[in-house]
Symmetry: C2
Subunit: 145 residues, 2 copies
């Protein structure tokens, strides 16, 4: 069984690349610096059900993404969350929050409709995150991205 | 600087005990099986800023709590989240969600006011979680709980 990104995640995000365990996605909402990690394990639904080795990789990748996001796009608080109530495929949100962002201090999920990036702004943010990230990142081929 | 639980967490929860890194709290909301881990590090605000050893402990404790909660109080999905927009002290939520719970599929935070446990029900749930948990758990003295 090969890994396929859930269509909802595919539709809502831009692809940053593949780290050793996870696909890294930028949520297409220009209001929040927001990266999602999706472990490339086709049947994964809960973090604690991953193998110990995969859990360790996931948390290393999460820490690297957390640090890069807060350095590239500084904010007041980082929200890290695995919810999955709407999309059952295991995915881990990392969202930089600011006291002046639209949803603060409420969670962002369900608050209001996303505001898509202008292409140039998306390109800049993705380049900045990739440059700050201390993780090997492979390009995802178009056919599987 | 010694560890003191944030007054908001103190007021909203019942104390399960101290694991090697974290204080374990049961959210006093009978509608959701909901355990919060609070690393006993006075200045901690973000997971990625903990030492590597502490991060590893936190994720081990998180996996143990996740497994125990889903075994003791089975549900459809586990939500795991470090938000901290309201309470800056680092804390990690673990919430068993069910398709028939009041907030499903929305996040629980900010959905509706908590429904406190009856004392007997709280006692039963805490005993069940403690019995299922594969973690050394120390009683927290009254004065510091």
């Amino acid at each position: 069984m090969s890994f396929e990104l859930h269509p909802r995640l595919q539709a809502d995000t831009l692809t940053l690349g593949d780290a050793p365990l996870s696909r890294l996605l930028l949520m297409n909402d220009a209001r929040y610096p927001w990266v999602i990690l999706v472990p490339r394990r086709p049947t994964a639904r809960e973090i604690y059900l991953l193998s110990e080795a995969d859990q360790q990789l996931l948390w290393q990748e999460s820490a690297a993404v957390s640090r890069a996001l807060m350095e590239a796009c500084p904010g007041d608080k980082l929200n890290v969350a695995a919810l999955g109530n709407m999309v059952p495929q295991l995915h881990l949100h990392h969202i930089v929050r600011r006291h002046d962002d639209p949803a603060w201090p409420a969670p962002v999920w369900g608050h209001s409709a996303a505001v898509a990036y202008e292409p140039e702004a998306a390109h800049r943010r993705m380049a900045l995150i990739r440059a700050t990230l201390i993780l090997p990142l492979q390009t995802v081929p178009e056919t599987s991205s």
